[in-house]
């Protein structure tokens, strides 16, 4: 396993050797995986950690007293501590979920549950006329749960518009976020634009309004050093499978006061103290949010993933990917007929979505795939943002720690022949 922290060099060859899937070929061509924003590939250490646990130490956690169960419980809580450290947080701030979507829904349902019955006096309760603010750039996972919450509570959903260059309209945000605002939910990095949003400014606006902040950190966690307490958000979510970790696990981070005050959502075993037939009492956070058997081996795999990233050093990763980002974006700008969604020269991750004039995204993707280059085509679960840019689908290329300059170049090379292939633009 590769550890580069502090060495000052980023040895991408060594990193590549850690990822078994990079040996695959698509037809005759080696796989060029530029779809890490959809799901990341997993280094061997992650697969090994999970397998070692399952082969040697698997047992129910937090429920058993036998030796294996005690060991499993320790590995599981140790994983929580590792993931907490990765985002600068205390273990008690980390709630395991099934993924980012589950985490964001957990946040929305917790607020929903705080809004009915006796809990409706909670400071987080929503009432008709209260407002929830999102952005026009959100992934459906950070949009629809809030639409649904609004529909259930009578709250109103509002949105911060996006400028032509992909940055958020902060003037509009300042005008939107006000007295009625109870929740401000936004992504750290949009999965279409790749731009790092100004978290501090949005948190400041929300705080002035007394609103809860919810950060979708799906696309920042794998690429940018994260210190969630320093960012000052109340809640944040990310997925294991996008940070080199397993499927089936994600994280809801929460500030202690917020987690303590919110009611549980999923209920069942291992999150209770006393249960009688018609009433139950709940453990403190994070456990009150973790009903039932947790994704135990996945937590251990996720811990291995974040340790792997820490081994590389998140600052080094971000620096490295900045280089790739520049090469990628400069290359795209130089191709005739290619239009980027959100071309602002802001702090960015190595992810670009674009339109090829006269050729549908699906067809672009197919031509790239024929050369072994895997990109994402479609609306990337961000239909409103595509509508904002006047399209229904785009092509997205996204890099990871194992991406090389040669791969970016190969991608650009094939892409520059696409319009000719389809006989457009001459």
């Amino acid at each position: 396993m590769t550890s580069l922290a502090g060495t000052g060099v980023f040895d991408v060859r060594a990193v590549r050797a850690d990822f078994p899937i990079l040996d695959e070929r698509i037809g005759d061509a080696p796989l060029v995986y530029l779809d890490s924003a959809a799901t990341s590939q997993k280094p061997r250490v992650v697969l090994d950690a999970e397998r070692a646990f399952l082969e040697h130490a698997n047992a129910a956690v937090h429920r058993g007293a036998h030796t294996l169960a005690a060991e499993a419980t320790e590995s599981f809580e140790d994983a929580r501590a590792a993931v907490a450290a990765f985002v600068g947080a205390e273990p008690e701030s980390i709630v395991w979920t099934a993924g980012a979507t589950a985490a964001l829904n957990l946040a929305a349902y917790a607020i929903g549950n705080a809004s009915v019955g006796p809990a409706a006096t909670s400071r987080y309760a929503l009432h008709p006329g209260d407002e929830i603010v999102v952005t026009e750039a959100e992934h459906h996972a950070n949009l629809i749960p809030w639409q649904q919450l609004a529909a259930r509570t009578g709250a109103v959903l509002r949105h911060i518009p996006v400028h032509d260059d992909g940055t958020l309209d902060l003037t509009a945000a300042a005008a939107l976020i006000g007295e009625r605002t109870r929740v401000v939910a936004f992504s750290h990095v949009s999965n279409v634009l790749g731009i790092v949003n100004p978290v501090a400014e949005l948190v400041a606006l929300a705080r002035d309004a007394g609103a809860l902040t919810v950060l979708d950190a799906c696309q920042s966690a794998p690429h940018v050093p994260l210190d969630l307490p320093a960012l000052g958000v109340d809640l944040a979510a990310f997925s294991g499978h996008k940070v080199l970790g397993p499927y089936g696990i994600g994280v809801l981070y929460g500030r202690t006061e917020v987690l303590d005050a919110l009611p549980p959502v999923l209920t069942g075993g291992s999150m209770v103290t006393t249960v009688i037939l018609d009433h139950a009492e709940f453990l403190p956070a994070p456990h009150k949010f973790e009903a039932g058997t947790q994704p135990v081996s996945q937590a251990i795999g996720l811990a291995a993933a974040v340790r792997y990233l820490e081994g590389l050093g998140m600052t080094a990763v971000h620096e490295r990917e900045r280089l790739l980002e520049r090469r990628l974006r400069d290359g795209l700008r130089a191709i005739d007929g290619v239009r980027l969604l959100g071309d602002a020269d802001a702090d960015r991750v190595a992810l670009c979505a674009f339109d090829v004039d006269g050729v549908h995204a699906h067809d672009v993707g197919q031509v790239l795939d024929a050369q072994g280059i895997a990109v994402r085509v479609g609306h990337h679960c961000a239909q409103p943002l595509h509508r904002r840019f006047g399209m229904t689908a785009s092509v997205r290329a996204s890099a990871s720690v194992f991406t090389t300059e040669d791969e970016i170049d190969a991608f650009l090379d094939v892409l520059s022949g696409v319009r000719a292939y389809f006989g457009v633009g001459r």
Partner: protein, 147 residues
């Protein structure tokens, strides 16, 4: 012929560029209008069917999408053609088309029966694109159900 060229045959690209039946016919006399959408990529089609007794008179359409979905709609329109075809024949064609596209290359489309649309045989090896090719045909299927 590379895999890509087998998929994007000239006939397909031609249909995509110069689609048949594009532009909805006069609403007068239409039997059913149907809207279909591919949720993965947002491609859409509006298809208008004109039935005359048990004869499919014509199929016109509008929509946006990839070259496969556009060519497929165009080929379907030209297959139904100016002469039209019996309703039962149309249904049988849709079933046959679906069976072939889902066959992963094991059941090619017969040119006699499917005309230009037979060029879409290659799509069946690309499971992610089958939906694109099916879009117009599913729309016609729905229109026949409604009619």
């Amino acid at each position: 012929m590379s895999g890509l060229d087998a998929l994007y045959q000239d006939l397909i690209l031609d249909h995509a560029k110069h689609p048949h039946g594009y532009g909805l016919a006069d609403a007068e006399g239409r039997t059913a209008d149907v809207h279909q959408r591919n949720p993965v990529c947002g491609d859409e089609i509006t298809l208008r069917l004109r039935l005359d007794g048990d004869t499919v008179r014509d199929v016109t359409w509008e929509g946006a999408g990839c070259s496969i979905s556009q060519a497929s709609a165009s080929m379907l329109a030209s297959l139904v053609g100016g002469d039209g075809m019996p309703r039962a024949t149309a249904s049988a064609l849709i079933d046959g088309f679906r069976a072939s596209l889902r066959s992963r290359g094991t059941i090619p489309l017969d040119e006699e029966r499917f005309g230009d649309a037979a060029a879409l045989s290659g799509v069946s090896k690309y499971t992610a694109r089958v939906k694109c090719a099916m879009l117009a045909w599913v729309a016609l299927e729905e229109a026949l159900l409604l009619a």
